[in-house]
Symmetry: C3
């Protein structure tokens, strides 16, 4: 236990840009009741009303083997999906469930399909457009029409180099869901970047605690001294929260070029960025499950998978411009180590929050005026769950 | 993923006996809703309304040490039972629960009791007829009568070399439950056969998926090429389903003598079989938990233990006539390998079905006209659960 | 399985003091229904109506590092508590939960706090009196008053060398709860004794089965021959059960000096005991979670932690007078081995009771007239749960 005094931002860290005022949470804003973090029934409702209704970022499109028949399996809200390229090259998403007796169709996580998906049980065979092409012996069953039994589709789009999937048949379009956040991302041209590193994390914490942790930097001087030294937590802007995104920026400190172990650039500057973007870090959450850290020279991209009320898996990638990879002194470890350490600090406090909220003594606590994004996120959650 | 074409029965496998028509399931027959395979509450109801009310095949009678006092523990529907031979040589079944404070009486899975069962806690002592013989200090308790506190019995019978137990006090008799299936089994004289091999399997699948898999051979050309080569899936007969049994036959192909790795006999022909029985394989399910594969020269006998909605343990034995064991070239591995491989193929697709049915996208699918036995089994299930 | 006859007290064990009559349980006294030992919902109600409302013995005060700021974490009814000495030397108990966003404050099981407890997330800082001293950025939130957000306290007292905690704000005082049992303990002067050994056990049994096992010695001749040889199970007295304690005594047999592997004294006689106390063993349960075995020369002290309906952790200590430790021939193993063996015998039958009560065949059974303390405990339980 260190005394409180040591956790304050040291005086040499005074911000080199103005400290901005933000829209405040109301004075009586309180954190959520414990059940939202612990109750399996709330978690089920979240799956049905949030994760299955919104577009999920399921992973990089580069994961999917190229060419017709290239496919990869993905888990979205507990459902196994087949992401497969048709003969027309179009990527489609289908539930990995045979329409006959419910058998899981594919087990290998990725591969190439020879023009069709065949069930290993009774050889029902589906085209890569999902249509049922053969169903042995069903032809003799009166009234059976193959057209009635296609693979159940999910909506699928590719944007920013990411595969997006929406399970529900109805719901917002991807563009509508992303709102202005899509514009903010565009200059980073993620679809042109290359992942040079990946880490996977497994947290004993509710997915919302991860989102909430990502939505404020009041904790930065306390647990991220290495970040605070390069980018002061009171700088930057919050963007107004929309139906599908939470975004903000923080400015780089004088002398800092990016977030890295030594504060110097790691990649080549991303070509689409204007001057202001080269002096700040962008933070974006595309709800419900993508978190982005946008630097002048690279992007860290984290996919969340909410497995249970108290368990979340996270996959993070470090993306650089191809030009960076050709630099003889390219040293991505300076970015990887910086964010891997920062991530682990965040995951640890998220797990401590999960543990504390598990106590019978937990009561909703007061949000400060600078935790407005958390409060807005909580309102969004209650609204989606119909709990308002 | 292999193309569909390769999974069709090759033309050289044309059946050498006529393809029979069977009673069809209705055109709108559908598989069961997902809850029947996943919901712990449905599983509890199954235990109370099926597994505790019907006769269960709990294992071979040869498991129980010979002589008075010989006993073995068995689990039926989650309950521990003592199967013990009395001084009169009669086998009886009792719940392994002391009537005093509920203590489990015996822990060793098998052994020999010296004339009584004594609780290890307070020395309450029961005869092998279940009667309470001594209960120290209870004699001073007004109104206490030892006759009121016998071990709670379960019904117990021995037939076909198998111990059968019914937990419920009321319910059908064993003969009534088995119906005509008992007649079909009789010529195999299982009580005279010897188990030469045993395998135990642990499946992540609901017990009904195992029963349903055993109730049709439409999947045989797809996943059991070795079986399909010896016995064509469109041959044979289905017997009308009864309250306690599902049965069918399939014919041996021309040149095949039995089901084995090379199609030649493994054991000596079973003496009780008539000519037709020597040219076919019998398949019998004695509900809720015994599955039999009846060959001209041996029997494979599988005991199911439904442990949870998504977990089933299976114990399989390979039984031969004693005469076979005396043959110098007796090679049971040809039968063991054949069925162990076939079993594992079946268990694997059953687990894939469990996984697929776990998806939120699963919907009841259409049964073909040749899946009539599955449809009949589902009706039986719903009827027993009172869900019709 | 040994025949019943061998489990009877051998005739050479005739008690050397009179066999006393005790208040009997009513003739129709029955054990509790199974749900009280298995149902997670009953367990939750027990936590809320018993373990969180009564004083729990959480451990020896000597566990807590000396001096201001010395602290230890403890789990009571699933809640993490901080037991910390203030600058005034007073020991206080607080929930280990930050009032801001619920974060667990301390992770290390014990240590020394430098004058305050600081949350590792946003640096909220609490005094060792629980008052919120600093909450960065909250000063700007209208209406926020630090005095409204102290650490949530639990009641805390030290008595008999033990830390006692009550989570509920209202409830009986410790003295009121203990009742006459406190007087019975006093002569043993536990606060002056030294623990020379500790064992920790993890049981697959409900906590009440452990309490019930401790409340009668009818099982002693059956499972504890070593105890029965030194102290006859029919000797001694039961004290009337009170709202917070179950107590009894058993006499030492002629020639036995204490309970030990050889029946001879292990420690020096405890100085506060009168002559009768030197010829008997005291057994006390301070509900809900402390069990004591009081010998002429030492004390065994067991702290129970009910983790789930079917799981209980137990920590046992062997306490001796400091003078005993200075004896050149001090051999505590004779006491440790005696009780470790006896404990393991008791835990094993408690686990067998848990297993048996898990059977669908379990029915409440008859208490004998000498199981009056169990029956009284059951009435106490039902009364506290409001199930009468």
């Amino acid at each position: 236990m260190k005394p409180a005094e040591r956790r304050e931002p040291p005086s040499r860290e005074r911000p080199d840009s103005r400290i901005r005022e933000r829209p405040a949470a109301p004075p009586d804003a309180r954190t959520l009741p414990a059940r939202y973090y612990r109750d399996p029934d709330v978690f089920r409702r979240e799956r049905n009303r949030i994760h299955r209704v919104l577009w999920n970022a399921v992973g990089p499109v580069s994961d999917i083997p190229a060419g017709p028949g290239g496919y990869r399996l993905a888990e979205v809200a507990g459902d196994s999906l087949i992401l497969a390229r048709g003969p027309d090259g179009v990527l489609r998403a289908f539930h990995n469930v045979c329409r006959h007796r419910g058998t899981r169709l594919l087990e290998e996580s990725a591969g190439c399909l020879a023009g069709s998906v065949q069930c290993g049980y009774h050889a029902w065979t589906y085209g890569l457009d999902g249509r049922l092409r053969r169903a042995p012996h069903m032809e003799r069953t009166p009234g059976f029409r193959a057209d009635d039994w296609p693979l159940l589709p999910a909506r699928c789009e590719v944007r920013d180099g990411i595969v997006w999937v929406r399970i529900a048949a109805s719901g917002p379009g991807l563009a509508e869901q992303s709102g202005p956040a899509a514009e903010r991302l565009r200059p980073y041209r993620m679809e042109e970047l290359t992942a040079v590193h990946e880490e996977r994390y497994d947290l004993a914490a509710n997915w919302k605690l991860v989102v909430q942790n990502f939505s404020e930097c009041l904790h930065c001087p306390v647990i991220h001294p290495q970040l605070q030294a390069l980018s002061h937590y009171l700088t930057g802007d919050n963007f107004p929260m929309t139906a599908g995104a939470v975004g903000s920026t923080m400015d780089l400190a004088h002398g800092a070029e990016t977030l890295s172990t030594d504060g110097r650039l790691v990649g080549t500057p991303l070509p689409g960025l204007d001057s202001p973007a080269r002096r700040r870090i962008g933070y974006e959450i595309l709800l419900p499950n993508l978190m982005l850290c946008l630097h002048p020279d690279y992007v860290v991209r984290c996919f969340l998978d909410a497995l249970a009320a108290d368990r979340t898996k996270i996959r993070c990638e470090w993306l650089f411009a191809p030009a960076a990879l050709e630099q003889p002194d390219f040293e991505p470890a300076r970015a990887v180590e910086f964010w891997d350490r920062t991530n682990r600090q965040d995951w640890r406090v998220s797990e401590l929050a999960q543990a504390g909220i598990g106590s019978s003594a937990y009561r909703p606590g007061p949000y400060s005026h600078r935790e407005d994004q958390l409060w807005a996120f909580d309102r969004w959650l209650l609204d989606r769950l119909g709990d308002t």
